[in-house]
């Protein structure tokens, strides 16, 4: 087995300028760009760069972050004009000596690179993103074949980073639009064979700012860091709604497996 190529890790390769959009609501000044020179090592992500600035150059730079492994969805921002997760973007791979960092668009900016995601959460909540069934305490597991799982699984990968809303041109004007994230989640639950809640979600989805405000610009799927492809979810949801105009769509609900006592020994 050969040695793994970690060459260059731990050494400074070059210096890159981060041009960060700064905005401090308390100063009363409009946003402005400030440049910071950051020594970049192999493997250094834009988030590492921002943290370097924060710890060594200017303590007051603010950004949202947590997991630094691209799963919590905190660190969405616009890097060199495109929506990306800061912690998943290698500075060196950008191939530029100047990295321009903006907060996500179509949200308010709280401070510097921190967007106000209230809208995203509100929209997500409005599509009832949970399994809707009548029974409170089902007695067994719901059966779901790997194929049935695959029919919605890709949409469960959404980390709620909100990048798609920043890239979506409809969101650029229509702040009441549900947005690709929420719509994809609606589709995720509707197409989950355990769910029976289509009808409860219809009036939100089929509203003036629901699923029909997507014009399939595909930008959401393009920037999604998790390959969720919300655009696909939206179009399939739309197919469901159009056919629902002619023939009422029925959800059957997953069959139940053996009851809990026999599965778990506990009732």
């Amino acid at each position: 087995m050969q040695e793994v190529a970690l060459k260059g890790f731990g050494e400074v390769v070059k210096t890159v300028t981060l041009r960060i959009r700064r905005y401090d609501p308390e100063s009363g000044e409009p946003p402005k760009y400030v440049e910071y020179k950051v020594p970049v090592q192999m493997g250094m992500t834009v988030l590492d760069g921002i943290l370097y600035v924060k710890e060594h150059l200017d303590h007051t730079v603010s950004a949202r972050y947590s997991c630094r492994m691209g799963i919590c969805g905190s660190c969405g921002m616009i890097i060199n004009g495109r929506e990306r997760l800061a912690c998943q973007t290698q500075i060196l791979e950008l191939g530029k000596d100047l990295v321009k960092i903006d907060p996500m668009g179509n949200y308010g900016t709280v401070k510097d690179l921190v967007p106000d995601l209230t809208k995203l959460f509100r929209n997500h909540e409005s599509v009832k993103p949970y399994v809707i069934r009548d029974e409170e305490e089902p007695k067994g597991e719901y059966l779901q074949t790997p194929e049935q799982r695959e029919s919605y699984a890709m949409f469960t990968d959404c980390i709620m980073c909100g990048l798609c809303l920043s890239a979506c041109p409809t969101n650029a004007t229509d702040e009441l639009y549900l947005g690709p994230q929420a719509l994809a989640q609606a589709f995720r639950y509707i197409s989950d064979n355990r769910d029976l809640g289509l009808n409860e979600r219809l009036n939100v989805l089929d509203s003036k700012h629901g699923v029909w405000r997507c014009h399939f610009s595909g930008a959401c799927s393009d920037v999604c860091p998790k390959g969720v492809d919300p655009a696909l979810g939206i179009q399939l949801l739309r197919q469901l709604l159009t056919s629902n105009v002619f023939v009422k769509f029925e959800q059957k609900g997953a069959p139940k497996g053996p009851d809990r006592k026999s599965v778990t020994g506990v009732s």
């Binding site: 087995m1 040695e3 793994v4 190529a5 970690l6 890790f9 731990g10 401090d24 308390e26 493997g43 710890e55 060594h56 303590h59 007051t60 603010s62 949202r64 972050y65 947590s66 997991c67 630094r68 492994m69 691209g70 799963i71 919590c72 905190s74 998943q88 290698q90 709280v110 401070k111 510097d112 921190v114 959460f121 997500h124 009832k128 993103p129 949970y130 399994v131 089902p138 597991e141 059966l143 074949t145 790997p146 049935q148 799982r149 919605y152 469960t156 990968d157 959404c158 980390i159 709620m160 639950y189 355990r194 769910d195 497996g257 809990r260 026999s262 599965v263 778990t264 020994g265 506990v266």
Partner: protein, 575 residues
């Protein structure tokens, strides 16, 4: 700066932390409360982004008794894994609850991996003698958090507060009265007056620089509890996950080895055959971590950046299709962070700080002993993990005991209507605390102190420990505590002041570091994750007991608590 709006909320139950434990507790409390309780859930990041989201591998549960698994087997694995420091009654309770809660998650829509017949699939995991890690690709924790978060949205009477930094609890006369926090986006101080609270703030992983933890896991809840005189149990046991990715420390799940991955040293040997002949790469984490460090220290590792020497995790036995299907996230991580695709190349790994076995001393219902205060998840220590947690037991623990804490506190709240009151003094205290935190008290930089702490912990309280290192480390940490009182906050604004947060977190960390090292110094034996090179043997005669540390008048007070043994007698631990 300087204007501190104080807003006062009035709740029955406040849940601090929105990890698996916190979310599960909130749902259970809402269910048990049947709309009669006013519940708030608050966390310092947005509620759907707790650290639990990083959990990858799986959640343990006995689902297929008909196929050979059993509660006793799970309990035995857990207890043996814990090096017999687990409280066995708690473990027995735990293993029986796991399947119930795993199925509950299933009903709420989690995309568990499935078998062909539509039933839930499971994968093998380290230290378990049966493949019982219920999983969903390699993002189990992520799916669990989102399923719970989504399900929580169903309950109208849970108020959700994102980005509230909790800096203290109001506790007097052993009674809980409220939570002090500030709203990060506005800087506004908020007092959550409440009759009860659940601490679910997670572990203390960011004591270490090289760690699998999120940046935000700074043990705040533990530190506050410590300051407020609660009992800290077994904090010296910190788990090191064998496969942290060099150089960032990001986790490469144990599921890789569960699915067939192999650890190799620089000679290409599968060295785990030597250390754990039967379980090999699926031995418990403490054993693998030690074996890896032995290999590295004996010169059979590769030279890594910044002294992070590493070994290799070989993916080739797994097969491309399986990697793509079950380990997609690991693959993504490999490509993103070291530019290596596991389909083609092994990944560089090294033991990385991963889990806090200890925590606030609680009962199986999460009760802390302070009236109105419960704890759950990694912040609590019921002692089912003892001195070493088995992989996949902790996410299960969070849902199982999160549910217990939520249910128990809700029942307690319904059955008594004792009210709590705030006084003017509380308000002044809340304000002064923050006013004081803003003040410059010296020229130390919080980030410098944190970096120094990381260096110390990574060196002195890592996998192998000894008297000399620990004493030295304790001295440094005490110096850091001293310095942490004399810092400058560069940023003075109210809005999203991460500088202020960093300084508060740093203070919490150094105080916990002292407890961890102090506890490690006092435990003169090797057990589970705590390995003393100067006392390399387990010592059941003197140390088969839990370390309890309390802070009394600024001093650490050490005491012990017996371990509950039921069916399983301590025996030698070979795998």
């Amino acid at each position: 700066m300087a204007i501190y709006l104080v807003e006062i909320f009035d709740y029955d139950l406040v849940i601090v932390g929105s990890g698996l434990a916190g979310l599960r507790a909130a749902i259970e409390a809402a269910k048990v409360g049947k709309g009669k309780l006013r519940i708030a859930i608050i966390a310092k990041n947005q509620l759907m982004r707790p650290h639990s989201i990083s959990a990858e591998g799986g959640s343990a549960a006995v689902l297929y008794m008909d196929e050979g698994d059993s509660f006793d087997l799970h309990a035995y694995d857990t207890i043996k894994g814990s090096d017999y420091l687990a409280d066995q009654d708690a473990v027995e309770f735990f293993v029986r609850q796991c399947p119930v809660d795993i199925l509950e998650l299933e009903h709420w829509g989690i995309p568990w991996a499935r078998r062909e017949d539509g039933r839930i699939a499971q994968r093998p995991f380290g230290g378990h003698s049966y493949p019982r890690a219920t999983f969903a690709a390699d993002r189990t924790g992520f799916y669990e958090v989102h399923t719970l978060y989504d399900t929580m949205l169903k309950y109208g009477n849970i108020d959700k507060f994102h980005e509230q930094f909790v800096y203290d609890f109001l506790i007097d006369n052993n009674t809980f009265r409220g939570v002090l926090a500030f709203d990060i986006p506005t800087g506004e101080i908020r007092i959550f007056k409440a009759r009860a609270a659940i601490i679910a703030t997670g572990g203390l992983g960011r004591l270490y620089g090289y760690t699998t933890y999120s940046h935000l896991v700074t043990g705040d809840g533990l530190a506050i509890a410590l300051r407020r005189g609660l009992r800290m149990k077994d904090l010296e046991f910190v788990q090191f996950h064998p496969t942290g990715l060099v150089p960032s420390g990001i986790l490469i799940t144990e599921g890789v080895r569960g699915d067939g991955g192999i650890l190799r040293n620089a000679k290409g040997e599968r060295f785990m055959e030597k250390y754990a002949p039967s379980k090999k790469d699926l031995a418990p984490r403490d054993i693998i971590s030690r074996s890896m460090m032995t290999e590295i220290l004996e010169g059979r590792g590769y030279k890594g950046p910044d002294g992070l020497d590493y070994l290799l995790l070989d993916f080739s036995p797994i097969g491309d299709e399986k990697i793509k299907e079950k380990l997609s996230q690991v693959r993504e991580i490999g490509i993103h962070y070291v530019g290596l695709d596991p389909l083609k190349s092994p990944l560089p790994v090294r033991p990385s700080a991963h889990y806090t076995m200890g925590g606030i001393d609680i009962t199986t219902t999460g009760y802390t002993g302070v009236t109105g205060l419960w704890a759950a998840g990694e912040a609590g220590c019921i002692s089912i993990h003892g001195s070493n947690r088995l992989g996949s037991n902790s996410t299960s623990e969070c849902v199982v005991f999160g549910k217990q804490a939520g249910g128990d506190s809700a029942k307690w709240l319904l059955s008594n209507d004792k009210q709590v009151n705030l006084s003017e003094g509380d308000r002044a205290y809340a304000e002064n605390f923050i006013a004081d935190a803003y003040k410059d008290k010296g020229d130390n930089d919080p980030y410098d102190i944190k970096r120094e702490l990381w260096k110390t912990m990574d060196r002195d309280a890592y996998v192998f420990r000894n008297e000399k290192d620990l004493t030295e480390g304790l001295k440094i940490v005490r110096g850091l505590i001293e310095r942490s009182g004399k810092i400058t906050i560069a940023e003075k604004g109210n809005v999203y002041n991460q500088n202020l947060i960093a300084s508060l977190e740093m203070k919490n960390l150094v105080e916990l570091a002292e407890v961890v090292i102090y506890g490690a110094l006092q435990r003169k034996e090797s057990r589970g994750s705590h390995f003393r090179t100067d006392f390399p043997k387990r010592d059941d005669d003197n140390y088969l007991k839990h370390t309890i540390i309390q802070k009394v008048g600024g001093e650490l007070k050490l005491s012990y608590k017996p371990v509950t043994l039921t069916k399983w007698k301590p025996e030698a631990r070979v795998y």
